[in-house]
Structures are given as structure tokens and as C-alpha cells.
Amino acid sequence: MSERREGLSAATDQEIVALARAGHEPAYRELIRRYERPLFSLVFRMVRDRELAEDLAQETFVKALNALDSYRPEFKFSSWIFKIANNAAIDHLRRRELDTLSLDGSPHAETPEAIEATALQIGNRGESPLDAVEAKELGGEIERAIGLLRPEYRSCILLRHVEGRAYEEIAEILNLPLGTVKTYIHRARNELRQALAHLRE
């Protein structure tokens, strides 16, 4: 059994996908083992909620592994699965933004504090109290600064400087022009530099 696992560990993603397509269960588990941590980390840092990140990462794997037939081996498997994960995270963040969009605050809010807390906050990308709790787990100034970035900037900077992906690959994952990816990364780095400026003084 361990020999078989060692054999799979040495195989390329494409070889493992071919085995999985033939119905080889250990190949599926090997794909999960390879990508569960990087993929979960990306989604967790995007949505900043552990339970939600697990659900989104789970949905990503289920969607990808049930659609292996549609994966084209000439592309990197990692790019394909990261694309699915990023789309899931961005979709969720957009939905959440729409859900909380209310000029006068939530109709269920009864106290002035609650009304203020649920009112429309244009241009405020700051963290909610819940986000702050999650950020505590994510820990550190840099994690908090990442939480203040726009989701698009967040994806780009995480893929570039945490995952170490090339600009071209990020453009493929996010379905964006290369120039846009570069601009987003430069702006994200600039915003992080400003957010962390107090640490350098």
C-alpha cells in the first residue's frame, strides 16, 4: 500500500489524472493530498472564515474531481483547480457584498448601533467583527493587511507571492489579461507596503 502511495507521489499531475479517469480511487486521494492545503489556504485567506473556506474548498474538489473528463491535460492541473477555487471564493464574496447592500441598515436591526453596523458602507473594505475574529486565527499584521485588499488584488498577490505562481499562470487562473494581473499585483503590493509602513518606523 505504502509502495503504491510512493509510486503516486512520484507521478506527475497528468499521470495521476489519467489514473483517476480510469477509476483508480487512490489517484483521487493523491490529488486531494497534493492540493488540499494550498487550495484551502488560498480560499481561507480570500473569505477569512474557516468553516466557509472548508465548504468552498470541498465544493471545489467535488466539482473538479467529478469533471475530470473536461480537464485538458495540455494545461497545468494546478491552474485548473485554482481557477475553480478562486471563482468559488470570488462568487461568494460578490454575493455577500450584494446581501449586505442596504442603505438604511438591516430591517431586523433594532438598536441604533445595529442599524449603523448594517448600513451601507461605500468604499469601506474594513473587516467586520466576525472577520476580525477570523483574522486573529490568520494572525499577524500582514494577514490583516491582506484582508483589507480588494478580492481581485487579494487573489493576485496570494497566487504570486504566497503560491509563487508566474504572472502568465495567474492570468490564466484568473482569466485576466497579463497587464491587468501585473497592475493588480503592483497595486496590492503598494497597498500592503502602506498598510505595514508603521512597522518599519
Partner: protein, 202 residues
């Protein structure tokens, strides 16, 4: 291309510096311009902090929860041919090859039907001859196998063993038990993962 001394480094220049891929004039500018040196140092610090971020882990049963919702393909199912079919029709050459094969097969089938309709007696005679030949070959094979079996050194002992009804019953029972055990082991090995959909918990 050389950059005038009063220009600051562009984000692309900073990128190149961070990737250790900058040209000499960029390094030269960095040593001469305090603003750019400070900006580069700050960005390098950000990048180093990002690179040190640890990977987070999902719950330990994450893989099991995913696998519970994944439908493993049956390699013998017809829909498993879908991938090959897509690959075949992906290029013009594949499409032309597939069309040629279909054309040749169709023409061959049509020709054989036309010929069969015009030569029924010949077909009937050929069928009778083939049937007779098959029966005689089969009989020959059975006789050969039986005589081979009887020439084996263990044949008499095996015959004696099966001679007593009690022995036959004991051997049958042992074989049935072994078969049942095999089926149970196979069922356990091929059991599907549990189907419940679990939700993530911290």
C-alpha cells in the same frame, strides 16, 4: 534602453529586482536614488513576509468528505468512451479517419447484404458445412482433453477420493465455504465510501 537619472524605478523594475532579474542600470539607479531604495526595501519586506505565511490545513477528515461526494467512473461503462470520442473528433484528421472507417464499414455491410440475398443456396451449404466441421472439432477436443486427464498420475487417486459420497459432500462444503468467504472479502474491498454529505467543521 537607458533611463534618465531623474526618473524613478517603475513597478516593472521593482518586479525585476524582486525576482533577481534586474539589469545593471536598475541596480545603478537604486544605489543613487534614496527614494527608490527605500521603496524597494519596503516592497521586498512585504514580499518576504508573504512568502513566510504558513499553509493552513483543513479538518483531518476533509479528504473523506470530498471522496464521499465524488462519483468514481466505471471504466467499462459506455459513457467512459466519451473522452476518446472527444479526442477523436477534436482534429480534422481524426474526424476524416473516423468518417473513412464508417464509410468502409457501411459499404462492406451493404455489399455483404446484397451478396447474401443473391446467393442463399451457397450460404445455406456453407452454413451446414461449417456446423458439421465445428461439431467434429469440438468432439475431437473433448476426447483429447479426456484422454489427457486420464493419463495424469493423480487421476486414479482423485477418482478414488470422489468415489465416496461423504468425501464428495465434505469437499463440496469446503469449496462452498471458500467461495462464500471470497465473495465477502471482495464485497468489503469494493465497498463504496459512505454517501452522507458532511459539512465543514473547524
Amino acid at each position: 534602453m537607458t533611463r534618465p537619472a531623474d526618473f524613478h524605478l517603475s513597478p516593472d523594475d521593482i518586479d525585476a529586482l524582486l525576482a533577481n532579474d534586474a539589469r545593471d542600470h536598475t541596480h545603478a539607479h537604486l544605489t543613487a536614488c534614496a527614494d527608490c531604495a527605500s521603496r524597494y526595501a519596503a516592497e521586498r519586506e512585504v514580499v518576504e513576509r508573504l512568502a513566510l505565511l504558513p499553509l493552513a490545513s483543513p479538518a483531518p477528515d476533509f479528504a473523506d468528505r470530498v471522496m464521499a461526494r465524488v462519483a468514481l467512473p466505471d471504466p467499462f461503462a459506455l459513457h467512459a468512451l466519451g473522452g476518446s470520442r472527444r479526442k477523436l473528433f477534436a482534429s480534422r484528421r481524426g474526424l476524416a479517419a473516423a468518417a473513412s472507417v464508417v464509410l468502409v464499414l457501411g459499404a462492406a455491410m451493404a455489399a455483404s447484404i446484397v451478396w447474401s440475398l443473391g446467393n442463399r443456396e451457397t450460404l445455406a451449404a456453407a452454413g451446414t458445412w461449417l456446423g458439421n466441421e465445428a461439431v467434429s472439432w469440438l468432439w475431437l477436443a473433448v476426447r483429447g482433453a479426456a484422454s489427457n486427464l486420464m493419463e495424469q498420475p493423480w487421476y486414479d487417486r482423485a477418482r478414488g477420493l470422489l468415489g465416496a459420497p461423504a468425501r464428495v459432500a465434505a469437499i463440496s462444503a469446503a469449496a462452498s465455504l471458500a467461495y462464500l468467504g471470497g465473495v465477502l472479502v471482495l464485497r468489503r474491498l469494493m465497498a463504496l465510501p459512505r454517501t452522507g454529505v458532511a459539512h465543514a467543521h473547524a
